[in-house]
Symmetry: C2
Subunit: 682 residues, 2 copies
């Protein structure tokens, strides 16, 4: 373990963890906040802009509704945070919304929540990276000129990082997140100071642009619909709030209380930043249009297709700090970085949720095993592939991608809160302690209001955004749901089929004898070893079996067999078509037919080589044969490996792989100590 | 075997062959000709045109050299045919040029020939299909407007056909080939009749076009170089002549004589058609240019980029039969079909050569086994992929592709003929019989002239075409050569490493004891079966091993183990990180460390399912574990399969697959009868 090549890794990610040091990996609040909240906090980089974009459809005069929409978002945020504070107390195991919905509303609800969250993870990656590229592009034009390429490039980078098993590091998350939050607050404070105290006029880069309303003089139902759509877009600020409730086990003790406090802090920071940015956007006269190319005018002419509409946060920063000043560039960089971290959050959350789903047999079992690299890799590649596809299809345009977002989150919110109401109902039925009952009644009220409000928002989102792209998200959910149902049904069917019967059964009754067959092609070390091992097994009969593919070779084999005096009878099967598999299968089947109560043990000498391309050159017929033999009842197949020198390389690789860090390990808290139960099943 | 689904297959491709009926599959000459000669015969569809194209560089006046070039090609063709008639007598085993060169000039020469032929197979597909599309396009404009797509489409079609194992059928080959040959002869005869007897003037569609020479008034060395280049292009008519020499075993007896006769017939047909088409092209004033867009003029203006230059055979047919007449369309269709059959020839020849190379361990061993579907599939996909790439890169332009062609063929010709000279030298050293010596001397003279002439042509081709594309073919040859050398070296190294030592060795010495371990995750039928089989083996010790990933499950396992009173001790390993592989590997390694002379037998219960997607849901940890265990010395791994109901589906699929027809089986003749040697090794 003290290899030289390990030194850089040690320096980068620290010593490999031992179980007795696990306590140290628990997160203090100041680190948990950036780890879990980079997603909701970073969404203030795009959510305010989306509100303005939608309002612009009715013309710039509609912008004066934006404070009201901000208020609605704030109320919603407080509701959701208050609701989830109940969740983390009631379900500290980290199952999150999936567990809450599954336990209280049944497995179908749980699976719906899970599908919604999986889709949302994909969208978190797509939206956050697209928005990050746009923000970075406000300072570095090159990036926004090659938007799709840059966005896909960053997805690839994050994917490779996570495939290699770079561990989420609390400190690494903390710095950009705190720089970003500080920067936004500084901007709000400095803007307020300049505007209110100094009474300066700050003008955003688009202050003297005009917007041509797509629908002039909207009123009545149409206006209400537009406002609701703007509100839906603003709700993007709420994505990722549920992350903390999945991460309770990663907090220091008292886990639930600390998680609840962190939630409150996160909510407070998010709404303050959200409102501050909206207010500054109003004050600095930011003009944004849904289709800037034709609806945004400068000096009376449309800005045209080449125009790049910078995010509202960048425009505000340009107005407050001045364009291309140090603070402007720093904030743009920090914003982009936080958004990329938010995307990385999904890389950790997706396999984490996957492992919980695998435990309930909705996904392949091996996902459940922590540190099963291959299984996690598949999840990561699936996530990255889906996100990259969306980024490509939607041209890395965060505005268009946000239309797909939010649906999933609010499905999860609504079902989870409804589940919580049921939870309290159940507990109230048995609880007699006055104080506790009062507490529960209060919690139930909060969750009921949360369920009602998020449910309402879900309907609003569905109605206002269905045709704009929400249908894609719903389709994704349906696909996940269907796939997971099929997998679960398969596992259930197999479990029934293989359930051990009570009392003695066919499987328990010993076959009477075992007939051993060693497959031989030539006499070399692997064959000799296989013969030696076969003899050790002391089965009832033992013979060597070869297939005559080339008459000359077979003659040579026979001669050498005799010359060496090998004390195992050698049988040669004829094969007029130079096949190997078929004659052997036929021979084994014949043996079984002659004595159906006997088992056949087929022993295959195998080379073990070090590289996949060497593997292609060996064992192919053996592998094929093994595959076919496994379908023959009453047969067992033994591989006797012979390690070639080159296999050392593969051994080293395998050892390295086993030190891999599974994504999501920081957020799911330390592995369970042996002897303690891992997590409840819904 | 009498399943209902087999009926259509029976109807389509006939009953499955039994060894005693093999004789019937031997080819009579009239069928062997189309099977083996579709490639050289079809090349008259493009070779004459290529000659004119190159000559046009010096202007239309250079066309009057074309009869001389035709004469040179005819002489070359007779030389090659005469040479190969010697080959088929001397080497009737079907190894072809590879065998001749390898046996007489050493393995490097053999490998060079093999590389050249492999490249040539790829080019046969690319050139034939591109030319076929162009010929078809003379009747169906749509095809030539979507040239690349059509060509790739036909490659895909041929690939699928060959992957499914559709057998080459002599009759299927015969009809279009004979229609094509008859059609061309009819055209020549009718053209001669109209021109000479009726004294009519026949005008090709391009008769009144003019050619702007790229180099006016070429003379001296430049002219000679141009003529040599035109001759090189004309040599495309010779590709595929060697096919018959690879196919001698497929002929009826007397095999060699029949093959030699077929060769002569093929040569005669090819040169007659070649000369006839050149003569008709002269008579009907065909005008072709290398760059028609700028060098071909109609009424004084360049024809431009949209102009489609039809193949010479189509232009001549239009002149003789009239455009869009029945005969014109029939000939175009037959030409295209024969060209596609020529491409299919490569689909059969490529894996056939591959299997011979595999026998000599230049390619993965499994290619040698007849009917190993997977191995053949890889070869077919490689061939198709390379051909499709070339077609795509060169825009399915047969003229540009032909620049790459021919190099490989003439490398093979030259080395093979040189090898034959050595062959006769060797035999003359020992032969004393007068008549036989005379015969050998004559053969040697023919082969020596053949070697000299083809060698000269090779130099001409290399010099005139290197920069035009021949370098690509050479690069391909180098890649094949290097890959095959590396594979051979690997096999040789492994063979040395595993060679059985004389006398008793480590491998032959029995380990003293075997310690058996049955892996258990739950108690179900597969586990019970594995335990029952393990007990049958009567090894020295036996225990069951489980990994504690979930404490509750482990407790349940322990309780049921006791309740059922299973008489095998159950050991549980702790796994704080929920890993499965590592604790087991460590345990096994420990066992080996404690008693290094003992072997460990790890017995794994496995589910056998029917579909690959089910496979993904099961056995993954078992597979991973097996992979790791094989690297641990002194360990053998036994799979005890438990067949789930769904495995029936896979069994049926496997049975179906085993009835697959390997490509190349018709041309390599029947499989060897048991007890007879298959083929000589060089």
């Amino acid at each position: 373990m003290s290899k030289l090549t390990d030194v850089p890794k040690r320096i980068l990610i620290g010593r490999a963890l031992r179980s007795d040091r696990l306590g140290e990996t628990l997160l203090p609040k100041r680190i948990a906040l950036p780890v879990f909240a980079s997603d909701p906090l970073s969404s203030v980089a795009y959510a305010p802009g989306e509100v303005l974009l939608v309002l612009s459809i009715a013309g710039v005069s509609a912008y004066h509704f934006s404070p009201w929409i901000a208020v609605a978002v704030v109320v919603l945020m407080f509701t959701v945070v208050a609701s989830y504070r109940q969740n983390v107390h009631a379900y500290p195991s980290g199952g999150g919304d999936y567990e809450v919905a599954g336990t209280n509303l049944g497995p179908r609800a749980g699976l719906t929540v899970a599908s919604a969250l999986l889709v949302d993870y994909v969208l978190t990656v797509a939206v956050s990276i697209s928005s990050g590229v746009e923000n970075l592009g406000s300072a570095v034009p090159f990036v926004v000129e090659h938007k799709v390429a840059c966005a896909v490039g960053i997805i690839v980078l994050l994917t490779l990082m996570n495939l290699r098993g770079v561990k989420e590091s609390g400190k690494l998350f903390a710095i950009p997140t705190y720089v970003f939050v500080t920067g936004v607050f500084l901007m709000i404070a400095w803007g307020a100071f300049r505007g209110v105290v100094l009474d300066e006029t700050m003008a955003s880069p688009t202050a003297d642009y005009e917007i041509k309303p797509e629908h002039e003089g909207l009123a009545g139902f149409a206006l209400v619909f537009l406002l609701l759509r703007a509100f839906s877009s603003g709700c993007a600020a709420l994505t990722g709030v549920e992350a903390i409730s999945n991460g309770v086990p990663a907090f220091r003790k008292p886990k639930s209380r600390n998680a609840a406090t962190t939630l409150a802090m996160m909510g407070l920071l998010a709404v303050t930043m959200f409102c501050g940015i909206i207010a500054l956007a109003m004050a600095t006269n930011v003009h944004m249009a849904e289709n800037p190319a034709k609806d945004l005018f400068h000096d009376g002419v449309p800005v045209g297709g080449d125009y790049v509409q910078h995010p509202v946060i960048a425009q505000v920063a340009a107005a407050v700090f001045g364009e291309d000043t140090f603070f402007f560039v720093l904030l743009a960089a920090a914003t982009a970085l936080v958004l990329f971290l938010a995307a990385n959050t999904a890389y950790n959350g997706f396999p984490l949720l996957g492992s919980i789903l695998a435990q309930d047999r909705y996904l392949p079992r091996q996902l459940h095993t922590r540190g099963d690299r291959l299984a996690f890799s598949n999840g990561i590649v699936l996530l990255a592939g889906a996100a990259a596809l969306l980024v490509w299809v939607y041209g890395a345009d965060s505005t268009r991608l946000i239309q797909l977002y939010i649906v999933g989150v609010f499905v999860a919110f609504t079902l989870s809160q409804t589940g919580m109401v049921r939870h309290w109902n159940r507990h109230l039925r048995t609880e007699t302690d006055r104080a506790k009952r009062r507490h529960m009644l209060r919690s139930r009220a909060i969750n009921a209001f949360g369920a009602f409000f998020t449910g309402l928002v879900l309907v609003v989102v569905l109605v206002t955004k269905f045709t704009h792209g929400a249908w894609v998200a719903l389709l994704g959910m349906v696909i996940f749901y269907a796939t997971m149902s099929v997998i679960r049904r398969h596992y259930d069917r197999v479990a029934d089929e293989i359930a051990a019967p009570e009392g003695p059964s066919d499987d328990m009754v010993r076959p009477s004898r075992v007939h051993s067959i060693v497959l031989v092609s030539k006499i070399h070390r692997p064959t000799l070893r296989a013969l030696a091992y076969a003899k050790l097994m002391r089965t009832d009969t033992l013979e060597a079996l070869s297939v005559n593919v080339d008459a000359a070779e077979t003659r040579a084999l026979n001669a050498e067999w005799e010359r060496r005096g090998i004390d195992v009878p050698l049988k040669v099967l004829d094969s007029p078509y130079r096949e190997i598999t078929r004659p052997i299968i036929e021979y084994v089947k014949n043996l079984r037919r002659e004595s159906p109560r006997d088992a056949v043990s087929v022993i295959i000498p195998e080379y073990v080589v070090g590289h996949w391309y060497e593997q292609l050159l060996h064992n192919q017929s053996a592998l094929r044969l093994k595959g076919r033999l496994l379908f023959t009842p009453g047969v067992m197949v033994t591989s006797v490996p012979y390690q070639l020198q080159s296999s050392e390389a593969a051994k080293k690789r395998a050892r390295k792989r086993s030190e891999w860090n599974a994504p999501g390990s920081v957020r799911r808290g330390p592995a369970v100590e042996p002897g303690k139960e891992s997590s409840k099943q819904p």
